[in-house]
């Protein structure tokens, strides 16, 4: 594509990537393209919600089937304090990712990078807490899902393994989403560093932020259901 001339940007410097952004050939203008991309993202988020609905439905079905056992197992195997800390960390990261989008709207490149870095640190803290304080001790004690659950030592009921199945598959799938989020946010950081985000164009940053909110929201449902059962 040849260079773009914009009336209000007549400085004798080269245009930054976000200033020179040209929409795809099949879009009428960049605004339509950004709206389309956002609608696509919302549709994708709805598929994510429905995907996690599978876990929530399984949770509801088995909680109704084994109510007492469910309560005992939730309190025995999960530590609500770890869950609460992780919830706060994710809430903080949701705020920072919004601030990154705001920084893009204000053309503050350094702020975008700082806010995204904090977001990613929160995500990594969440994953580290999960792996070191939750998953690893359970693996050591043989508290694995389903048939691999070790009925040795103190157990809470005959169906602990089903509770742990729901716990493992839902939190692991959520954790996988957090991990994907780390890569997406890192990708946004690279783009931000290269000056791809500014008031005229920040679509992918906003969409990643939407994804990150969803990851947060799903955790906000998982936390009380599993840890505060």
């Amino acid at each position: 594509m040849s260079s773009i001339t914009t009336k209000d940007l007549t400085a004798d410097r080269d245009l930054l990537p976000w200033e020179a952004y040209v929409p795809g050939h099949h879009w009428r203008n960049a605004e339509d393209e950004a709206e389309g991309a956002k609608l696509g993202m919302w549709l994708f988020l709805s598929t994510e919600v429905l995907l996690f609905m599978g876990f929530f439905t399984a949770y509801a079905a088995f909680r109704m089937k084994f109510p007492g056992n469910w309560y005992e197992a939730a309190h025995y195997y999960l530590d609500w304090q770890i869950g609460a800390i992780n919830t706060c960390v994710l809430l903080l990261s949701s705020w920072t990712v919004v601030m990154a989008v705001r920084a893009a709207q204000l053309a503050k490149r350094r702020q975008i990078l700082v806010y995204l870095a904090i977001t990613n640190l929160c995500a990594l803290f969440f994953l580290a807490t999960k792996l070191i304080l939750e998953y690893w001790p359970k693996i050591q004690k043989g508290k694995l899902p389903g048939a691999n659950f070790a009925y040795t030592g103190e157990v809470q009921g005959a169906h602990d393994h089903i509770f742990l199945s729901v716990y493992w598959i839902s939190t692991a799938t959520h954790g996988f989403h957090v991990l994907v989020g780390v890569f997406l946010i890192s990708w946004c950081m690279i783009k931000a560093a290269k000056n791809h985000y500014g008031p005229k164009h920040y679509t992918s940053l906003e969409n990643v932020a939407l994804y990150w909110h969803l990851v947060d929201v799903i955790w906000i449902f998982l936390f009380p259901l599993l840890y505060l059962a």
Binding site: G36, F44, T47, L51, T57, K65, L144, P145, G146, I169
Partner: protein, 588 residues
């Protein structure tokens, strides 16, 4: 603007290598659609081979059941006729029934996941939805290409599963059988369906955004062709239902690999929960399969009747209504394992589906009234579609009625019912649409006479094959059995003979298409006299679909107001002098 966008999208590039590259790396929705079409036709062939294996085995009621003697030894009483190659797997000889199970599972899984679901939306929809909207491409062209590769990747898993021993669970993968069977490569097939689901989701997302954001100037929602409405409704279901299948199949894979116990009654899990999950997707998926067929029928009938379609808005909204109701009826697959209250609710909701469906059928029929119908192949298929689909639709209520369903559940009545809907509905509509749009996207006409002969053969053979299965079902022949009582033999043989005739019909179709590609006459812009936008561009369309962005000034079926009385619609749109100069003038 620049000249190279004015050449056909099929035009080869400078070198062979560049031409190949221009396909595998294309973001052009038309090329992606053609690649989808090739892939799904291959899948249709593979699924058809499996179907023929099923029908041939059922030619004779040979006893292939196992008999347990008093001393506990198990021996097959007699061997299957066709399905007993005596192959050993893991040191054990594969029982003949397992071969039969594999044949019908492959037929079902391939036809559902690799053929019918992507057939109309991903192939014909991809090629025509943007053109009908007057857009240059779908909203996310790279995602579109990615979805094709995801489809191929899923297809490779399915083929691996076939080569590694096949699947014998039926395409529904019901637990606990799917988690306990020792034969074949079930996990690979489940993963294949999981991956194919993503391809379907991406296509659906793409279409929804395209319809919302890329309509040509002047095209309101009610100026869209009904094919677009139908594909739009389908896309909503694809986006909202498929993730539930995804998570279900993922849990099934975990169940097989890690024995998580959620679907395993031996561990306190619930096998019926799998069915709830599965049908929460797969019942809406039935409408993913049939809604695009409705859309095609609307196009075929309006264009080949040369008449304003009766009840445009009613047809458009009935598609959305079907999409909405489709999410509320999954429980009717489990009438035998639910509470009476749940059964009554699901039965009632199931009857609701009949209302929007009947609205469509009556509107199509009303369009026939005083129309100038050309009985060419697409129109024949549209008429066959209405005939077969109506039979398929009307045999639904007996299955939705609790009392009759207890008798008909899991019999050949169900098999006949869904084949009348899926094959008599979707496949016939797909064949009609393929003939309708073939001249447009290939730029070649096909041999009308032989195509008509083939379509009549397919129609007759289809009815021979499946109508007798209604009788088999009401008389108590259960589905998925390799062997049967001797008095069913005549009906089974009629059905098998019909299947062979069906094969002949499709082979003639294949020959007609091959002949058209090699030596077909060049297609004009508007061979049928359609008024929607795809008929205003070249055959085959140019790279960016139109020479200039079209402006919509009339509805897709406004035959009464747009086409002057003395003009043949095939000459429409009347050539614009400026356009003629631009295309044929020496602008280089």
């Amino acid at each position: 603007m620049s000249g190279h966008h004015d050449v056909s999208y099929l035009a080869p590039k400078d070198t062979l290598w560049k031409t190949i590259w221009s396909w595998v790396y294309t973001v052009d929705h038309k090329k992606i659609g053609v690649m989808y079409l090739s892939a799904i036709l291959l899948a249709f062939f593979l699924g058809g081979v499996a179907a023929m294996a099923v029908r041939l085995e059922l030619w004779a009621p040979t006893q292939t059941v196992l008999e347990r003697a008093n001393d506990g030894t198990v021996t097959p009483v007699t061997r299957g006729v066709f399905l007993d190659p005596g192959i050993k797997e893991n040191g054990k000889e594969v029982p003949p029934n397992v071969w039969y199970n594999r044949a019908f599972t492959l037929h079902g899984a391939i036809m559902v996941f690799l053929f019918i679901i992507p057939s109309i939306p991903a192939a014909l929809g991809n090629i025509f939805l943007p053109i009908m909207l007057g857009a240059k491409d779908v909203a996310f062209p790279r995602l579109n290409l990615f979805s094709w590769y995801v489809y191929v990747f899923g297809g490779l898993f399915a083929i691996y599963s076939i080569l590694a021993g096949g699947v014998e669970t039926g395409w529904t993968f019901y637990t606990p059988y799917s988690t306990t069977t020792e034969w074949g490569a079930t996990t690979a097939m489940v993963l294949a369906a999981f991956i194919l689901g993503f391809s379907s989701i991406f296509t659906g997302m793409n279409f929804i955004v395209t319809v919302h954001k890329l309509r040509a100037p002047g095209m309101g929602w009610f100026d869209m062709p009904l094919f677009v409405w139908a594909v739009y409704a389908t896309a909503i279901i694809q986006v909202l239902a498929t993730p539930v299948l995804g998570i279900t199949l993922l849990m099934l894979v975990f169940e097989r690999l890690f024995k998580i116990g959620i679907f395993d009654p031996a561990l306190g899990g619930d096998a019926v929960l799998f069915q709830h999950f599965f049908w929460f997707y797969s019942h809406p998926a039935v409408y993913i399969m049939i809604l695009p067929g409705f859309g095609i029928a609307s196009e075929l009938i309006a264009v080949h009747c040369r008449k304003r379609l009766f009840g445009y808005k009613a047809i458009a909204f009935s598609s959305i209504a079907i999409a909405a109701i489709s999410f509320l009826v999954w429980g009717h697959h489990m009438f035998l394992s639910e509470t009476a209250a749940a059964n009554i609710v699901f039965s009632g909701l199931t009857f609701l589906v009949a209302i929007p469906t009947a609205i469509k059928v009556f509107n199509w029929l009303a369009t026939f009234y005083k129309a100038s119908i050309s009985w060419n192949t697409p129109m024949l298929y549209a008429a066959f579609f209405i005939f077969c689909f109506t039979i398929g639709g009307l045999t639904g209520p007996p299955l939705a009625t609790l009392a009759t369903d207890i008798h008909l559940h899991d019999t050949y009545f169900v098999v006949a019912h869904f084949h009348y809907v899926m094959m008599g509905g979707t496949v016939l509509a797909f064949m009609g649409g393929l003939h309708h749009w073939w001249p447009k996207f290939t730029g070649r006409m096909y041999n009308e006479f032989w195509a008509r002969v083939a379509s009549v053969i397919v129609f007759i053979a289809f009815n021979i094959t499946f109508f007798v299965q209604f009788f088999l079902g009401t008389q108590g022949m259960p589905r998925r059995y390799a062997t049967y009582d001797e008095h069913f033999q005549l009906l089974h043989q009629i059905s098998t003979a019909g299947a062979l005739l069906l094969l002949v019909g499709f082979l003639i179709h294949a020959a007609v298409f091959a002949q058209s590609l090699v030596a077909g006459a060049k297609a004009p812009k508007n061979p049928w006299g359609g008024l929607s936008l795809e008929w205003e561009t070249e055959s085959p369309p140019v790279e960016h679909n139109f020479h200039r962005e079209p402006v919509v000034t009339h509805g897709p079926y406004d035959y009464d107001t747009v086409v002057p009385a003395h003009v043949d619609p095939r000459d429409y749109p009347l050539p614009d002098p400026a356009e003629v100069r631009r295309v044929h003038g020496d602008h280089h």
